[in-house]
């Protein structure tokens, strides 16, 4: 049976990992390539890199990171952030990523999903969704709305509708980020994750709110997520991927062994 995936997420700015990440002595804490390798060795099932560099003229730096990561880790990895065109997708895939993640670009221009899927296959296209809880209304019947720009801009688009629409357009996977839970370390948004994951036929990666292994158990079990993104709980050395997996495994969640 398919294992649930644990996916560390690295934010990269100008070719360096951001946030004061605390690693063991032998790791360059700012080098995304070394961090990728570190998590690969720890047993991560996949790795996500987000290029949070604002300007597109920095893209060659990110592509260089992707190339170097591809030389040292032999698990799937995806790259997101600032991907707007087929050309952007092609560059990242040719540099060695398995998947590309589109978020606000797809909200503004849904066509990019279908064109990307047609050119590179559905399995390559991950839809990133930033979602906020709002009052139920005629435009937002699920009570969850799509937002962009880090949650500052409400799009008047229902999250459940958008998830189904993205699947129809050819997205191969959804990375579902709750803006409300993000950064709280109080756990994932279970209700939202369950709502989306049971409504679509493609895998859903839960994101935002992870602070301890129990949160992953909750979202993978009750939240019906297929995978869970982790960031600060592993970046700060609070938990290793192995510790998280041991906990999940002891509690009946099928995860991949480390060999």
């Amino acid at each position: 049976m398919l294992s649930k995936r644990i996916i560390p997420c690295l934010d990269v700015r100008d070719g360096r990992t951001t946030k004061g990440i605390k690693f063991r002595d032998n790791i360059d804490i700012g080098d995304p390539v070394e961090m990728g390798r570190f998590y690969y060795e720890q047993g991560a099932d996949e790795i996500v890199f987000y290029d949070i560099t604002a300007s597109s003229d920095r893209r060659p730096i990110m592509l260089d990171v992707v190339r170097k990561v591809a030389e040292t880790i032999f698990i799937p990895f995806s790259v997101g952030g600032g991907i707007r065109t087929l050309e952007d997708m092609r560059d990242v895939l040719l540099a060695g990523a398995e998947k590309v993640s589109v978020n606000s670009a797809a909200v503004l221009n849904p066509d990019i999903i279908s064109r990307g899927a047609e050119a590179f296959g559905n399995q390559c296209i991950v839809l990133g969704m930033d979602v906020k809880k709002v009052a139920v209304s005629e435009t937002i019947p699920s009570g969850y709305e799509i937002v962009i720009n880090g949650g500052r801009k409400h799009m008047g688009m229902d999250a459940l509708w958008w998830a189904r629409e993205a699947e129809r357009l050819g997205a191969g996977e959804i990375c579902l980020n709750s803006i409300d839970a993000d950064g709280t370390k109080n756990g994932y948004e279970l209700e939202l994750t369950r709502l989306i994951s049971t409504a679509v036929g493609i895998p859903v990666i839960a994101s935002g709110g992870a602070g301890e292994p129990r949160h992953l158990l909750d979202v993978l079990d009750r939240g019906c997520a297929d995978a869970a993104l982790v960031a600060s709980m592993v970046h700060f050395g609070t938990y290793s991927i192995g510790q998280i997996k041991d906990f999940l495994s002891q509690n009946g969640v099928g995860v991949r062994g480390s060999w």
Binding site: M1, L2, S3, R5, Y40, D45, A70, E71, T72, F74, I75, P76, L93, L94, G96, E98, F120, G121, N122, Q123, G172, E173, T198, G201, I202, P203, C224, D226, A227, R256, G257, W259
Partner: protein, 210 residues
Amino acid sequence: MIAILDYKAGNLTSVMRALDYLGFSCRITNSAEEIRRAERIVFPGVGAAGKSMESLRQLGLDELLRELFSSGVPILGICVGLQVLFDLSEENNTGCLGILPGQVIKFPEKMVSQRGDLLKIPHMGWNKVDFVKNHPVTGDIPKGSEFYFVHSYYPEPAGQDLTIGTTEYGITFTSAVACKNLVAVQFHPEKSGKPGLKLLDNFCRWSGVA
């Protein structure tokens, strides 16, 4: 030199990087001359069976693959590179290479897990491969190792002789086959961490005799 067959089938560089990392020299090529000279062949693949067969025919690689299989050179098929070895694929109802007897069919709809959740298609992620027969290419891989899969179709060989590995996803399906100098896997060893690298390393040292 190891030849990685180039027929526009997705990310060939990931196979090359894994072989480079293991220290084997390889080339991505569609030159018949170069392929014939290679000491072993990797036949990768991502995408649809129909398009893959079309490219293979256009490049003349369909005939070449049959010739290579008869020549005894070790061949490793990966993902769609496994699927098109069979007679027929349900995907776009594609006539394939017919090197191995059998067909490739789609996972049934509405499969459910033991606890009743609907199983998603494609089968994407890490899953166990149960190596049901010993083979040099799967030697020294710990029992219960998991590999990375991305596919909606699976092979159904005619007869059980070919199957060396099986995987469970709603049903039990063949995930690895072997026949003479040929081994083929439905998963992506180049993206399957240590067990995947071990399988590739074994293949690169294999004489071609099972």
